[in-house]
């Protein structure tokens, strides 16, 4: 029998040549993969992309209807590229790319390379802290209120005061005061806030109606909230309705401002270097909240949360009220299948305060295109920029007061949205918001203690004392900065 290898027109493969070709192929594939991984994965936006949520036509119309004030900083004379890091959900990132497209049309010599790390703030921080270690930060960076100071104190960001003071139309006073607090150091501004929202009270109208309880309004006090939470809690098991959707916990960054301060209590000192949770006013404030849970189960227990796969019971339509940032309104707008509204956070017997937090954009100090980065930032965070990005999309929480009317008129503004602006300008504060460098350690240190309170095996006064003991040594990190 004639072997295949001797048939005319067929290449003869011996073991050696097969191994050579296989080796070369493997080398080529490995090299290509390596080179591909080194290449930039963030191309410049060159066309107007669109999605079901953000149509190209609407974006074009809106862009041309807005007035884009020119910066006093001149555009570069030749083409430059700036890299901008964002933290958007994939669906909202489309809007960002639309903004970049129009920006490049207005500034043909500035090319934008956008990077999106997704909408997880923790993942974003991991990515860019690692890049900072490698000395490879983008020109413009998103920043959360809770980690901006880490970058600022390390010298990673440029102080923007010179650019701000030179810009004739910037109008720094247009920004809500609370939004600017988190990005200042030694009297200088290191980032421009782009969103800032207060903690508000959301309510499910149907549950209130069914329970025969009047819906909340701006005259409510925390005693009204307590009565309503108890009155609207009903049922058992999978059909249980909760008065409040989420547990009260010291792991909550806002629990001082929102839960304790209205009763005269506090978690930490103002500079986050000392503990106050073991003081009588603080203990009684914590007790006031926990009693609702221990006596009536007004919010889900750990087991009940697990049975809901950790989902928010308010969004599932199983809670009468939710205590959450105004930024949650857009998700509810998309997901809730029930009638809901927002109102002011109630006042307590010793004060009226809510926490307001958000995020900002900064220019990195090692950027080689600082002027181009400023031109981008100035336009992105102008009134028109905030209307394009937030007011017209319902993503809300504009930091410029001048952008709010557009949001309030939009179809995305929920019932009671005016209360958000009211809170921002009247009683929302950064006081008591825990955001020092030790915050993650505090969270992990207090959680095991709080688990015992939720498990009904530790009394509140003892828990407060244990929390104070656990937290005190960790606060050294805040002092060290």
């Amino acid at each position: 029998m004639q072997s295949n290898s001797s048939m005319p027109g067929r290449r003869e493969w011996d073991r050696r040549s097969f191994l050579k070709v296989a080796g070369l192929s493997a080398f080529a594939v490995t090299s290509a993969s390596f080179l591909a991984s080194c290449a930039s994965s963030s191309p410049t936006t060159t066309s107007l992309i669109s999605s079901k949520l953000y149509s190209a036509d609407d974006a074009r119309k809106l862009n041309s209807s807005l007035e884009w004030t020119k910066s006093v900083v001149a555009d570069p004379k030749s083409e430059v590229t700036i890299t901008v890091a964002h933290s958007w959900s994939p669906s909202d990132y489309v809007r960002q790319r639309q903004f970049d497209y129009f920006f490049q049309k207005r500034h043909p010599n500035i090319k934008i390379v956008a990077e999106n790390a997704g909408d997880s703030s923790a993942d974003y921080l991991k990515k860019y802290a690692s890049q900072a270690a490698g000395g490879d930060l983008p020109d413009v960076m998103y920043n959360g209120f809770n980690f901006a100071q880490n970058f600022i104190s390390s010298g990673a960001f440029l102080a923007l005061d010179d650019y701000i003071s030179a810009e004739t139309h910037f109008d720094a006073d247009d920004f809500t005061k609370v939004s600017r607090f988190y990005y200042r150091r030694d009297g200088k501004n290191y980032a421009i806030p782009y969103d800032c929202g207060p903690i508000m009270l959301y309510y499910n109208k149907g549950i209130f109606q069914k329970a025969g309880v009047d819906v909340p309004d701006s005259s409510w006090t925390l005693d009204d909230l307590r009565s309503a939470a108890i009155a609207t809690t009903s049922g058992t098991g999978g059909s249980k309705i909760f008065g409040l959707s989420q547990p009260v916990t010291p792991a909550d960054t806002f629990w001082d401002t929102v839960r304790l301060s209205p009763f005269g209590g506090h978690y930490l000192t103002e500079d986050e270097s000392g503990v106050l949770i073991d003081q009588p006013d603080s203990i009684s404030a914590v007790q006031w909240w926990v009693d609702m849970y221990l006596e009536k189960g007004v919010w889900p227990s750990p087991a009940e949360l697990q049975s809901m796969s950790q989902a928010d019971s308010f969004t599932l339509g199983r809670s009468a009220m939710r205590v959450d940032g105004s930024w949650g309104a857009s998700t509810l707008h998309d997901q809730a299948t029930f009638d809901w509204a927002i109102t002011d956070w109630p006042a307590g017997p010793k004060g009226h305060s809510t926490a307001a937090v958000g995020s900002a954009y900064a220019i990195t100090s090692k950027s080689s295109q600082k002027d181009a980065a400023w031109i981008y930032l100035n336009e992105y965070l102008s009134t028109s920029g905030q209307i394009f990005m937030f007011a017209s999309t319902g993503k809300g929480n504009m930091t410029r007061n001048s952008a709010w009317p557009a949001y309030l008129k939009s179809k995305y503004a929920p019932e009671g949205a005016q209360a958000i602006r009211n809170a921002l300008n009247n009683y929302a504060t950064s006081d008591g918001v825990v955001f020092g460098p030790a915050t993650p350690q505090l969270t992990n240190a207090v959680s095991p203690i709080w688990d015992q309170v939720m498990g009904k095996s530790l009394a509140v006064p003892d828990a407060c004392k244990q929390i104070a003991q656990a937290v005190k040594p960790l606060l050294k990190k805040n002092v060290a900065g």
């Binding site: 080796g23 104190s153 390390s154 792991a251 697990q306 049975s307 950790q310 992990n444």
Partner: protein, 318 residues
């Protein structure tokens, strides 16, 4: 057809490759050429970080500012850190439980799947299938299975009149819950056992049968000794994997809310999770590197102990 007599063995000498000969050099070049992707990968992406981690363990580094020399401070802190000991205890508890349960369960399943019965291929596929499910999907599935109210296990226990525990939300039951979950991915171990079982010579069983050995004696005196190298391999690799447990623990007892990774009352805070917490929540890379070396030494010590004891029970067929 004529048949030629086979040539005497001595008539065709086997070529001896001397060191330094052209052929030997060529083969060595080929060897290193083919091995180079792995060697490069190991040196750059494995060896480099290992050395860097060792150096970092003697430094303070938060990624944003340059590392500063810390001497033995990270190790001193580690030995005084109650959470370090807590994480070691949790890790060893989980590893011992999951390895014992996994090795025994998968060996028994492999014995069943080695039987000559109809449809055995189907059963082998069914038992292997969970191994190809991704870690995150497995974690979410088991969170539901272990749900205290609506989970499958507690529902079954309720049917027989037993009130099931809180599993992942109960500090006492969180690690037993994770151990129970760990047998889900036993498919790979089963395949290795099956291969080993099929390599046991039938003549040994025949001889034992002729000597009057019953099923139990054949299992105890033939199967176990002949399978001991395979059991040993599975124990070593399973223990190493269990001591590094991280992903499933993070997802199953993390809950997605701040401060919940590590389960209720830190009851599932494994060493791997603690390293992650220090590195990527606190950005304390120096301390995380010191903890990583502690984990490495723990795994090394556990493996060395196993090898030391292996002489007493592992039988290698000469």
């Amino acid at each position: 057809m004529t048949q030629t007599a086979p040539a005497p063995l001595s008539s065709k000498p086997i070529p001896v490759r001397r060191r330094g000969s052209a052929l030997a050099r060529q083969e060595a070049r080929a060897f290193y050429g083919f091995a180079s992707p792995w060697i490069l990968g190991f040196v750059l992406f494995g060896g480099g970080p290992v050395v860097a981690a060792l150096l970092l363990s003697f430094a303070h580094w938060n990624l944003l500012t340059p590392p500063s020399w810390a001497g033995l401070a990270n190790y001193q802190r580690m030995f005084a850190d109650p959470l370090f000991y807590r994480s070691i205890v949790n890790t060893v508890y989980f590893a011992a439980g999951s390895v014992a349960l996994g090795v025994i369960t998968s060996f028994l399943l492999a014995l069943l799947l080695n039987q000559k019965v109809r449809g055995v291929g189907f059963f082998r596929t069914v038992f292997y299938l969970p191994s190809v499910v991704s870690g995150v999907a497995t974690a979410l599935l088991w969170v539901n299975i272990l749900n205290p109210d609506s989970g499958l296990i507690n529902s079954i226990l309720r049917v027989v009149g037993i009130k099931g525990p809180g599993w992942l939300v109960d500090p006492q039951w969180a690690i037993p819950g994770l151990i129970l979950m760990s047998i889900w991915g036993a498919g790979n171990t089963i395949v290795i056992y099956l291969a080993g079982l099929q390599g046991v010579s039938p003549t040994l069983y025949e001889a034992a049968r002729l000597d009057g050995a019953g099923a139990w004696h054949r299992f105890w005196n033939v199967t176990i000794p002949m399978m001991s190298p395979v059991i040993f391999f599975n124990v070593v690799t399973s223990l190493i994997a269990s001591l590094q447990a991280y992903t499933l623990v993070l997802i199953m007892t993390g809950g997605g809310r701040p401060g919940t990774a590590g389960g209720p009352d830190n009851s599932t805070l494994m060493l791997g999770l603690y390293i992650y917490r220090e590195a990527f929540e606190y950005f304390d890379m120096g301390y995380a590197a010191a903890l990583s070396w502690a984990m490495f030494l723990l795994i090394g010590a556990a493996t060395a102990v196993q090898f030391a004891f292996a002489r007493r029970w592992v039988y290698y067929d000469a």
